[in-house]
């Protein structure tokens, strides 16, 4: 049930948060053995929060805009008193003594947490395969990956285990799994949502955003989590517009740029066909389609795989076995304790990225790699600025392919990195971007359409995505998939 309708039902007494959360927990119990979307199901917290919502309603108090809405929280967002593992052995038993800003705002808005969702270890990956606690399955085909890194959040929403979820997106970690799982995923403008409490992967790229089954629900969640936070120096101090009110504004005359460089060689033909059809659908709704070129778009991936690991190598240096987290036994010396703890506590992909980043920042290489990458990042941003002088939004596929199978890329990190080819540039430029389902391939796997907007133009993204969603009604013709809600 969409949040709007649910909210009405809750307020007019035809539903209770308790029933709603119990249904979610039952659905989780039924599907989780196969899906494995959660690292930790928080039934007790869900019941307590639902109870509080029902009591507020009974007391005729405002229970908040997301009252009773069930939500899965990516397990790299700190939740006070609830383990936050980042799907890593390193933090397997880490219980934060504080709450992230986004979850604090969600609980204040009445949302109900059903669990902490699985991810690639420390959000490094595109499939959840690097999770120390096992892979999440794709609800459309349990033999395939859900995408990543926020694979658990995408899967739990697609499977109806909860209404919405939060993920984090450093190079596509919300949009790519949304695309693979046939749900809506929104990465807001860098700085729109506070990162306080988000375990850092690459600080200049990380951004938190929602997963939902409808665009309107993403708007409702963004409304609650967006806004300035004095605890995050990079959070933007600008007013938060009414996102839901933007949804139904007319889209006639908006210029949509078809980003030429996104239609790359190697793009799965069904993905290209489906995305181009979606563009035509927008044209039929009154938008004007314009071919746009950003020549350095494809340089994004090389740029990203220098900047993100560089920042990660510093961000993950704190996990040394001294203060919290995993500590190796029987170390002979201080440095051995740190080295051994990190070798045992981190998985291969995390270690690979730490090594890449350490290398890229080392004396003698920093100019050729890190500084060069920063320069290219600036050029990419400038190209987007010029593109947005011509058009209101840019349109691309979200991912080059539909969901792949586990192990398909595990011996080839580069092939895995290409899964983020189309999503990375928005992170480098700090732009908001959304993935909306736009069709299915021949195997019944969902395809995602990506829209990108200028900085702080989330309204425009949501508005066009909503119109598209209503007109295309992609889910009306969806294939059979028992795990999908």
């Amino acid at each position: 049930m969409p949040i709007g309708a649910w909210s009405d039902a809750l307020r007019n007494g035809s539903a209770t948060a308790k029933e709603h959360s119990e249904q979610a927990l039952e659905r989780i119990a039924a599907t989780e053995p196969e899906l494995k979307a959660f690292v930790n199901v928080t039934g007790d917290q869900a019941r307590a929060q639902a109870e509080a919502v029902d009591q507020a309603i009974a007391a005729k108090q405002d229970p908040g805009p997301l009252a009773g809405v069930t939500i899965g929280i990516k397990d790299n967002l700190c939740t006070k008193g609830v383990t936050t593992t980042c799907s890593s052995r390193m933090l397997e038993n880490f219980v934060p003594p504080y709450e992230s800003t986004v979850t604090e705002r969600l609980w204040k808005a009445g949302a109900v947490m059903v669990g902490k969702t699985n991810l690639d270890e420390f959000a490094m990956g595109s499939s959840t395969e690097t999770s120390a606690f096992g892979m999440t399955s794709n609800p459309w085909d349990p033999g395939r990956v859900p995408g990543g890194s926020s694979g658990g959040s995408a899967a739990c929403v697609a499977a109806g285990q909860c209404d919405v979820a939060l993920g984090s997106d450093t190079g596509g970690s919300i949009r790519q799994p949304a695309s693979f799982c046939g749900v809506v995923g929104l990465k807001p403008t860098y700085g729109r949502v506070s990162r306080w409490g988000l375990v850092a992967f690459a600080s200049s790229l990380d951004q938190i955003g929602p997963f939902s089954r409808t665009v309107a629900d993403s708007a409702a969640v963004l409304q609650v989590i967006a806004g300035h936070d004095p605890r995050d120096s990079t959070s933007l101090d600008v007013p938060v517009p009414d996102y839901s009110a933007a949804l139904n504004r007319p889209i006639q005359g908006l210029k949509i740029g078809i980003l030429q460089e996104a239609f790359v060689e190697g793009l799965q033909p069904e993905v290209e066909a489906s995305v181009r059809a979606a563009a035509e659908q927008l044209a039929s709704l009154g938008c004007e389609l314009v071919d746009v070129s950003c020549p350095r778009f494809q340089a994004g991936i090389a740029t990203y795989y220098v900047i993100a690991p560089s920042e990660a190598s510093a961000n993950l240096a704190r996990y040394d076995g001294v203060k919290y987290g995993y500590r190796a036994a029987d170390a002979e010396s201080l440095s051995a304790m740190t080295a051994k703890s990190r070798a045992e506590g981190f998985g291969d992909e995390v270690q690979r990225r730490i090594l890449i980043g350490t290398y890229a920042l080392s004396a003698g290489y920093v100019d050729a790699y890190y500084k060069k990458a920063q320069q290219v990042r600036t050029l990419i941003r400038q190209e987007f600025d010029r593109a947005f002088e011509q058009v209101d939004l840019l349109l691309t596929p979200t991912a080059p392919t539909t969901a792949f199978t586990p192990g398909e890329h595990s011996n080839d990190p580069l092939a895995m990195y290409l899964a983020d080819l189309l999503t990375i540039p928005a992170n480098l430029a700090g732009l908001p971007a959304i993935s909306v389902p736009c069709g299915f391939d021949g195997q019944g796997l969902p395809i995602g359409l990506q829209l990108m907007a200028p900085v702080l133009q989330e309204e425009r993204l949501l508005q066009v995505a909503h119109h598209y969603e209503q007109a295309a009604d992609v889910m009306a013709n969806r294939p059979e998939a028992p795990l999908v809600a």
Binding site: C86, P96, Y98, W196, R231, S233, S310, A317, D320, T358
Partner: protein
């Protein structure tokens, strides 16, 4: 030192900025409490926490930089300096690398050494930057890591704001190095941005030192010395190290690039670790903090808030008030003492006389009582009154010294005390003549001896006179009358 050797010395000074909370979080900076009582998730570098710059730290850093004649950068940034050590919670230190808040300044130091001429020297300052302090390790079973059974870490100090001040290699002697460090401390205390307490580590100096054969020779190998916790230790460490290096060169021993520790007990430096090549700290811009901006009007407003600094005071005291370099130096050592002195002069006292009282008996009292000049019950206008009583011949210096302890302890009007107790000077020639006559009559033998050529006996009669008058006789007049009468 052999005549042709010259030392080249530069100092890196870490000044703890005295803000109540830490540089990137609200945790307290209080010193000396139980371990890990002033920590929070940010201090401990818990996952998901973020730094937010304490605005007071920026203000203090800019004020310190302005006082050191540094140019303030309109835009600067923080960087991450990366190295693994357990006292560094994130295993990187948030510091400033290639765009510090301030660069290119200088201070003037007055180099005074016993038996040598005092001289002024301008010392260049390379830069000042802001950074966070680390915590500290406590090793159990040994005073250092080697040999300890286990180690504990205390993060109370972690995240305390530091200003690192880097001098140019302009210093040439241990004395200059000590004077420079001492002037930095004095300036920081004048500004109120740091207490500069070396024992508690709120001011720490590392010395870089090399020697060469004369000012045109290329620099020698640079050695770093740490662990000096007083200015005299800085001086002695430099002097020892200069001699050590010269001796090494002259005997063909190698001087290696290394860090040495000053051993205060043994009064020598000893090798701590070699520094072959420079460490790779993998600096990169701190993505969690935005650019640091200091707009021109803000810079000007902070500049306007700076007090008159010690060097300016020293010059003014010598030039406008006619004090000796020595007095000017002593009076300006502490801002509160200088302000006390200035208030006394402003109340009408002669500057030189006021200076003598303040640097003498009053400073001794303040130090012995561990007071600051602002807490002294004897207020500046009261001291001015006393100085004027002496200067105007109303009381003798001896009387002033007698009533001073009471005034220092309780304050009060010296004039009222003098009047009330009849301590005013006897300056009536007739009264003194009468007493002198009495004296001469009582000591006929001494008078005769004097007249027989024992001139020294005049002192005896002065003593008797002062004893009789309770020290109140005008000494000049008394001497004059005595001389006359003794001659007969």
């Amino acid at each position: 030192m052999a005549a042709d050797w010259e030392a080249v010395i530069g100092l890196e000074t870490h000044v703890q900025l005295g803000t109540e909370s830490k540089i990137f979080t609200a945790a307290s900076t209080a010193f000396g409490d139980d371990p890990n009582t002033h920590i929070d998730p940010v201090v401990c570098g818990l996952p998901g926490t973020l730094p937010v710059l304490n605005k007071k730290v920026l203000e203090y850093a800019v004020k310190a930089a302005l006082a050191l004649n540094l140019e303030i950068a309109e835009h600067s940034k923080f960087d991450r300096k990366q190295y693994f050590y357990p006292d560094l919670p994130k295993n990187y230190q948030i510091s400033q690398f290639d765009e510090p808040i301030a660069e290119n300044g200088w201070i003037e130091v007055e180099v005074a050494e016993k038996g040598k001429d005092t001289y002024l020297k301008r010392i260049g300052i390379e830069r000042l930057h802001m950074e966070e302090d680390a915590g500290k390790l406590v090793h159990a079973g040994s005073d250092r890591l080697a040999g300890s059974t286990h180690s504990l870490v205390d993060y109370n100090r972690a995240g305390v704001a530091l200003a690192e001040i880097v001098s140019k290699p302009d210093l040439r002697t241990g004395r200059e190095a000590a004077e420079y460090a001492s002037e930095i401390r004095r300036i920081m205390r004048y500004l109120g941005v740091s207490d500069g307490n070396m024992q508690e580590g709120s001011l720490r100096c590392d010395v870089n030192i090399s020697v060469r054969r004369g000012p045109d020779a290329p620099f020698g190998t640079k050695v770093e010395i740490k662990n000096m916790n007083s200015f005299s230790a800085i001086q002695k460490a430099c002097e020892h190290e200069i001699q050590r290096q010269i001796k090494a060169y002259e005997t063909g021993e190698p001087v290696v690039q290394e860090t040495r520790l000053w051993d205060e007990g043994k009064q020598l430096t000893k090798s701590m670790r070699s520094k072959e090549g420079s460490s790779d700290y993998r600096y990169f811009p701190e993505p969690d903090l935005g650019p640091i901006e200091v707009k021109a009007d803000q810079r000007q407003a902070w500049l306007n808030e700076l007090p008159e600094l010690p060097a300016a005071k020293r010059h003014r005291y010598a030039d406008a008030l006619g004090l000796s370099q020595y007095d000017a130096r002593v009076l300006t050592d502490e801002r509160l003492m200088a302000e006390y002195f200035e208030a006394v002069v402003a109340s009408g006292a002669d500057a030189k006389l006021a200076a003598n009282w303040i640097t003498g008996d009053i400073a001794a009292y303040v130090n012995s009582q561990r007071l600051s000049f602002s807490e002294l019950p004897f207020r500046p206008e009261q001291l001015a009154e006393m100085v004027q009583l002496i200067d105007g011949g109303k009381i003798s210096g001896k009387i002033a010294k007698e009533i001073l302890p009471e005034l220092l302890e309780k304050g009060g009007s010296p004039k009222a005390i003098v009047d009330e107790r009849g301590l005013g000077m006897i300056s009536d020639p007739a009264a003194i003549t009468a007493i002198v006559d009495e004296l001469l009559a009582a000591h006929p033998d001494e008078v005769e001896a004097f007249r027989g050529g024992k001139n020294k006996l005049q002192g005896f009669f002065v003593g008797q006179l002062m004893k009789k008058t309770g020290g109140k006789a005008d000494p000049k007049l008394a001497n004059q009358i005595l001389s006359q009468k003794l001659k007969g």
